[in-house]
Symmetry: C2
Subunit: 441 residues, 2 copies
């Protein structure tokens, strides 16, 4: 233990893909790692839309960080909130203390963003955390309940209309899943409404959905969505959102969608820790608040501070690397290598991203996949999507259960997790009509 106490201290902020892969890659190094996260679990974010649409439960796609890192003898996990960084003393400032580092790896991610219209937030929740997903799930399933008991056809129509803002992968996945839900899963469950009449509008400001994909795949995705009954409104931007619907603007023409359910899948902004790094360590930020890093992912003034994942602005060709899981994973592994190379006195070549492809899923049987020269769509792309996601899920824990559940849901089209749970836990003795009583068998 004396050795460990004198060992190089690495502090990793954030237990997402970037931070977790950095910590995992350091598991056998002769140093001391502390992973700090506000949450006690890693969230497999590519499947978050499945929680939001009742297809899976949080427990199935979240892994306790302590389980994932439990075997790493050089690693401890702290559940704590990082409030600042003291770059001079090399300490991360926590809400309840401080922690010293020799190397700091910042992987604090990003959150959704309303482009200066925070007043839209209550009406158009974004999908970033488990709580966001449960909130959206509550809204979606409540909308069908309200439609069933609506007083007028107009009200019914508004409850049966869903607007999704942003035609990136998250927006496409949500639109596809809600369409599946309304066309198949719920089709028999209601008596007063025909859920198959549900109107789903996907709003995208650019001239096509999935802008980072090749144009041919965007068209395939639009066709798949159209088959599911999703109306795709491209070249359409959002002018306002309120409790009654969305005001749109398309080629100078004002439009309006009367809807009670709007989901925000449009903007993303880097974590507040970007600002902290700018103030405390002279880091330079881009317009989205990301930290502009050097070729080795460090910041110029402080080579002992490494920034990875969504929080990092890394030049790649003409643009910058996107905020995706594969980028974060590769940067996490690179950060680990940089630390061990430095201790060993070796030089590390600059980070290079290896693009293994992009995938977006549309409902039950369709997806689009861009593997560079190979492009897939429809059923083959969907199979590729399932394979890749299961592959990464099992890497964390034996999440075999998710696979079985998917197989089962696929055969039955059921969505067992479509629960409307309360906004806040009922802490006091709950009253009135609750599921009947104290049960015991």
């Amino acid at each position: 233990m004396a050795d460990v106490d004198r060992a190089h201290r690495v502090v990793v902020i954030g237990g997402g893909f970037g931070g977790l892969y950095a910590a995992k890659a350091l598991s056998r190094a002769d140093l001391r790692v502390t992973l700090v996260d506000r949450r006690n679990f890693h969230l497999f974010q590519p499947l978050l839309y499945q929680i939001a649409t009742g297809g899976t439960s949080p427990g199935d796609i979240c892994s306790p960080l302590r389980s994932v890192l439990g075997k790493n003898r050089n690693t401890r996990v702290w559940q704590a909130e990082v409030t600042g960084i003291d770059a001079g003393r090399r300490e991360a400032v926590l809400a309840d203390g401080r922690i010293a580092y020799d190397t700091l790896i910042v992987a604090a991610g990003s959150h959704h963003h309303y482009f200066g219209h925070d007043e839209w937030a209550p009406h158009a929740p974004g999908l970033k955390t488990v709580e966001d997903a449960i909130d959206i799930r509550r809204r979606i399933f409540t909308a069908f309940e309200k439609a069933e008991r609506a007083a007028s056809p107009e009200e019914r129509r508004a409850w049966l209309t869903f607007a999704i803002v942003g035609g990136g992968p998250t927006g496409v996945e949500l639109a596809g899943a809600i369409a599946e839900l309304s066309r198949f899963t719920l089709a028999r469950d209601f008596k007063e409404i025909d859920t198959r009449e549900t109107r789903i509008v996907l709003i995208e400001a650019m001239d096509r959905i999935l802008p980072p994909y090749p144009a041919s795949l965007s068209r395939k995705a639009e066709a798949s969505l159209a088959r599911l009954g999703v109306a795709v409104a491209t070249q359409t931007s959002v002018a306002a959102v309120d409790g009654e619907g969305v005001k749109t603007m398309s080629n100078g023409i004002e439009g309006r969608i009367d809807t009670r359910t709007v989901i925000w899948a449009a903007g993303v902004r880097a974590s507040r820790l970007g600002r902290v790094l700018a103030d405390a360590a002279g880091a330079e930020l881009d317009r989205a608040g990301r930290v502009i890093v050097r070729g080795d992912l460090t910041i110029p003034s402080h080579p002992e501070i490494i920034v990875i994942g969504d929080l990092a602005h890394f030049r790649h060709g003409e643009g910058i690397l996107p905020g995706t899981a594969p980028v974060a994973m590769q940067q996490g592994r690179y950060a680990a290598r940089l630390v061990t190379d430095r201790i060993a006195g070796k030089t590390t070549p600059p980070f290079r991203y290896r693009n293994k492809g992009s995938l977006a899923v549309i409902g039950r049987n369709a997806a689009v996949a861009d593997f560079g020269r190979v492009r897939l769509w429809g059923y083959p792309a969907w199979l590729a999507w399932v394979f890749v996601h299961i592959w990464y899920l099992i890497e964390f824990e034996n999440k075999l259960i998710v696979m079985i559940q998917w197989a089962f849901d696929y055969l039955t089209r059921k969505r067992g997790a479509r629960l409307i749970t309360a906004e806040a836990p009922a802490r006091t003795a709950a009253d009135a009509v609750s599921p009947a009583g104290r049960v015991r068998s």
Copy 2:
């Protein structure tokens, strides 16, 4: 449809075991059923303690009411809150409307109760709803996180102490599950603490735990708990609960348990709808707020109002029927028969409870089972418990997944659902250290 409109209208309040079994039993009758519940799902409450201790996810033990009743063509489901009953006009008053009935089946259940000490509620949450379970889960797993980073041995000890008030089945199950968790599941996960030193105290005012069971089984259960390291404090009552611990009273001696986590499994009180029935329909209540029903489960002044489940006070031998799932199920089926018999002009004999036995589980391999002449404990009782619960779970939906998950957890002792989620959903753009960023693969 004209026939249906003139059909006898049955309104069922509550989608727990009582209400759901009543609705299911009426599925083929020539009448019109409306099931009203605040929630859109049925909760399999005997496994709620599994959510609270991270063993399973809400989606695995909750079934959407619309799925369960979807095939019943004469039944509709309303998600609504019942605020009153207009017995004269035969209408249930909802928060957002009214609904007329010819027969009303009230199965509104019960909630936990602090015997006039509502100020204890924030410090000692009870376990009745999914939100309660998630709140308790958050507290349990946060306690270990806080212990890991405690500033003093005293603070550490307080975080590693759990007090459970009430030695009924819920208290016993919670104590057993927390003991398993600390002794096995988490044993390797923390670096600063040894979770096996966790102190678990089960407090019971009577002279033995599981008072409704035969004394021999209570002793077996105490021995099983002791083997897991649970301290059982019988003949001990709670004098006060605050943020620092529990003040106890045992044979006139004042005691104190320093703990940051207290769980309330002691008192139960009938739903507020009991009071509503007393005011609106002259129903007589007992001290716990239950409605005293006649032999056919109706109330004297209004034979068209049937009360079942935890809300009903039904004489049975020298006592009254307990608030358990089997009682509620049997009363639900009886209520359905009473309605159809009446329409057919037949007389129905009074309700008679068939005791099929009681089961309580203690950790992973032990339980106690009282089947009247046959009494089981230890492993055989545990197998009986597993069998019975799976049997009832699959009756609702194909909850095969739960069975597979149990088998899996049993082999690995993992608890994948041990998430600490926030008290309220983060509705605005979440900030600071979140699981890293926008991910996409």
